[in-house]
Symmetry: C2
């Protein structure tokens, strides 16, 4: 690599610098750059607790600090690292902060980061088995391991447990793939279900798409409804089943069945049901088995979105939330949420991989090879949107290999236990209410109208918005909100990986203090 001095104004010098061989992957440079990055990361984790979680920058702040045009000359790597520290970090929302309680935590671990680093350096593109056999097989193994931790039925395994010795059993078609996001898992299964329903209903091409209907509770992630649009379903045929306090905002299978029967009666084709285990808004759990039973009447595809809460199901005490999973068609879960695996890593298991590959397979000439043609392997490009793919299985395998099931369960239980402490604190203060029962490590709460004698429902709405605003502006906590039953509710998500009980206690003290200030009319 050239140095700044090599780009002097002397033409001769410039020519020398230019003709010097450029070695962007020189092993010594790689080691040196990575050691600098590791030092940065060490300092970052040591200091992230003490900086504001949410930065106070305004839109456009970065363009005022960094060059607006790309440099022509090379610069020492220290320059980029310096600008990272001085310009990027101050504008960062610190998901790694122990004071981060927003959305869901993006949990992480030393093993995952190291696995991702190795994958970035090897930089293989495993679209087919041949393009990286180890990546394809380690991905299958990691998915099977996690499936075992979740007690998923054999039918979702790449190598069913009962046939491990004998190899892949005849007729076995289950398996999985690691995708980037839940949205992609929804999209590819929606497309597979769509195509199957079109065939089943004798559609001429896609003409029959206007008759296909899909179903999900109104608490389902917005990205599901977007995925339906992407796949070409008619927005008028996407049924958002109303939920309410009677089911703690979970899907009511009777309402689902009623909607499907009404549609089928009207000549429509119920095609797909999305069931959520742990909704983003409030962690509601849709009844998996009952939804599968309703869908079975129409041959509709059932997908379980367990992006966040699925990870908890590696603990026996939470596994019941997946009861009935043996009757669904697919399940997705994102270890990048709650299983200590840095972004991105969404696991998708399907009971019949051929239903996916029927819709997603491509066979360009330059990807033909003996392994694919032998039928002995599944090329993972045929189970995803794109062709290229990172070696995502490595980090997930390293997390399970290094920490082991016992520690992973301890991690889940610790978060839940701390959330429980927070929940109890909220319940013990008459000014607050827990709005829905806590299922995992998310507590949905608000200042209740009766917090003071004169507070109305409208006052409470204003006070809760003000509470979130002040907390987030303090830099000492970051919470997101939701709306449940028409009410503005604060979401307190426990589990950022550097978080300890003391951070939750401090946040609770801050919440109480800020609430007192708001109730007393003190100006922020």
């Amino acid at each position: 690599m050239g140095s700044l001095s090599g780009t002097s104004s002397s033409l001769a010098a410039a020519f020398d610098a230019d003709s010097e061989r450029f070695q962007p992957l020189n092993a010594d440079d790689v080691r040196s750059y990575l050691h600098k990055a590791v030092d940065f990361i060490y300092d970052y984790y040591k200091s992230v607790e003490s900086v504001p979680v949410l930065p106070s920058v305004e839109p456009g702040y970065l363009a005022r600090q960094l060059k607006s045009a790309p440099p022509n000359a090379a610069a020492p790597f220290d320059v980029a690292m310096h600008e990272l520290r001085e310009a990027v970090v101050p504008g960062t929302t610190h998901w790694a902060s122990p004071n981060f309680f927003a959305f869901f935590p993006a949990t992480n671990s030393a093993a995952a980061i190291a696995g991702e680093l190795v994958a970035s350096a090897m930089n293989t593109v495993g679209f087919t088995w041949q393009a990286n056999p180890a990546a394809a097989e380690l991905e299958a193994l990691a998915l099977d391991w996690l499936a075992q931790l979740l007690l998923l039925p054999d039918s979702f395994m790449n190598r069913p447990c009962s046939a491990v010795v004998a190899g892949r059993g005849a007729g076995t078609r289950g398996g999985g793939v690691i995708l980037g996001t839940t949205s992609e898992a929804m999209l590819v299964t929606l497309v597979a279900a769509r195509d199957a329903a079109l065939r089943r209903s004798g559609s001429d091409g896609v003409a029959g798409i206007t008759r296909l209907t899909v179903y999900a509770a109104d608490q389902t992630h917005s990205t599901f409804f977007k995925a339906c649009r992407l796949a070409g379903f008619d927005p008028a045929n996407v049924r958002s089943i109303p939920t309410g306090a009677d089911t703690d905002y979970a899907l009511d299978p009777a309402r689902l069945l009623e909607a499907m029967r009404r549609d089928a009666g009207a000549g429509l084709v119920p095609t797909y049901v999305c069931v959520t285990v742990g909704t983003t808004s409030s962690n509601a759990v849709d009844p998996v088995g009952a939804a599968a039973d309703a869908a079975a009447e129409f041959g509709a595809w059932v997908h379980v979105d367990a992006a966040y809460a699925g990870s908890a199901c590696i603990c026996p005490e939470f596994r019941h939330h997946l009861d009935g999973v043996e009757r669904v068609d697919s399940l997705s879960l994102s270890p990048h949420k709650w299983l200590l695996t840095c972004l991105d890593c969404t696991c998708l298991w399907v009971r019949d991989t051929r239903r996916l590959t029927d819709s997603l397979e491509t066979r360009p000439e330059y990807l033909r090879n003996h392994a694919t043609e032998s039928g002995a392997v599944t090329d993972l490009k045929d189970m995803q949107v794109g062709v290229g793919r990172r070696f995502r299985g490595l980090k997930l395998w390293m997390v399970m290999r290094t920490y082991g099931a016992a520690k992973l369960r301890q991690h889940i239980r610790s978060d839940v236990a701390i959330a429980k402490v927070f929940e109890e604190s909220v319940r013990a203060d008459h000014r607050f209410e827990v709005v829905v029962p806590r299922n995992f490590a998310l507590v949905c709460f608000r200042i209740r109208p009766s917090a003071t004698a004169s507070m109305t429902e409208e006052d409470a709405e204003v006070a809760n918005r003000e509470l979130m605003e002040r907390l987030n502006k303090s830099g000492r906590a970051f919470l997101a909100n939701t709306v449940i039953g028409g009410k503005f509710v604060l979401r307190f998500a426990v589990g950022s990986t550097l978080q300890e009980e003391r951070h939750v206690r401090n946040a609770w003290d801050l919440i109480k203090m800020t609430t007192t200030e708001i109730i007393n009319g003190e100006v922020d």
Copy 2:
């Protein structure tokens, strides 16, 4: 983290180990694990030249070497690293090998790997601007930098150059987003074009989808045709425009126009044209401007897929391949192919971001925030399939910040120069032919039927297949093939980052020697 000794059979010890606080992101452990990973990477780059590029493992090999069930107990990180070295590496197709000539190289650099490492550790999820302002703004900056290197028109910039001082100009809507793969870029633009065409043609919901038609040359990447299926286009309406030797397998704009007119005349709605700059098969370059002119007659969306060859257009001598780009709607380019940026990183620029967000926007309650509502920012989740997203802009910015435009151009030119040497070698040997003109760093060649007096076209086909087979089995080179004009052709892609001219010379010697053996009837 627990140690193996902590999981002894003693119940008390197990309980102690269990109650010991689990700190998966302890800064000292992170540093220690990452240093081990860096040591591995250093050794890997130093040794990858000497190991077979393509492993000789059989399907199922890894399951025979690693545990089939996840461990319960924690293990030192060294265990995972040991299994990585002993079981995973031997089954890896080494894309980083200087003897890798297959597909397109996945180029990489110290700066990119370091950037990705930092992103993995910060592990932010920038779905909205608020969720990580620095990530959103650095991504916009990196895209603008690359757009400047490519001399893209201002209309594709997040901050048009001419308005950098004054800030975002009124009415400016151009901009970009970094996605995972080209397929995703195709899908989101197809959906935006589809929805606009449905509105334009007065469709009732999606009923009109059966009338929408899309166009691409028959050499277009298979993933385009898959993206059309994903977006719900009728397979019968996806026009694959035939190409031939007359255009060096590039799109013939006259044929495109003819197809569109025929469809429009039949009451169909030409909706989208995909133009490729540097096809995967043979690096053909479709004429961007002429395609845009044809599409303009029908208001169809024009997308340019410059996944590989777009990177070359940072050099003035290649920029003409993008001529006419100011008249297209979108352009995608993957720095993870030829711009030294590890997977995954696909840049998508669009002339009107609102056409994307109109189709892709979601507004869940828990993502509401002042910045979004002010309209001053674009939330990148609304320009992609999913919601979650890695901080991909960091590595791309670090590559440009550290190496600078001059070195990046030197990198492209060096690859092209080496490919030219290879091409000349092939042309100088009467037994071979270069099948299509070389445009960038890919040479498509084959043993020609006249290599020996008695060789027929059928013999040549067999000989070429045998040549590729023997080369790949040797472990000393890995090439992929394609079919051009019905003939089996070897693809020799120069540019793996550790590659030097000597590797290409060695490969050429191996090709000549192997060809001699085949022609002489020597058994492999």
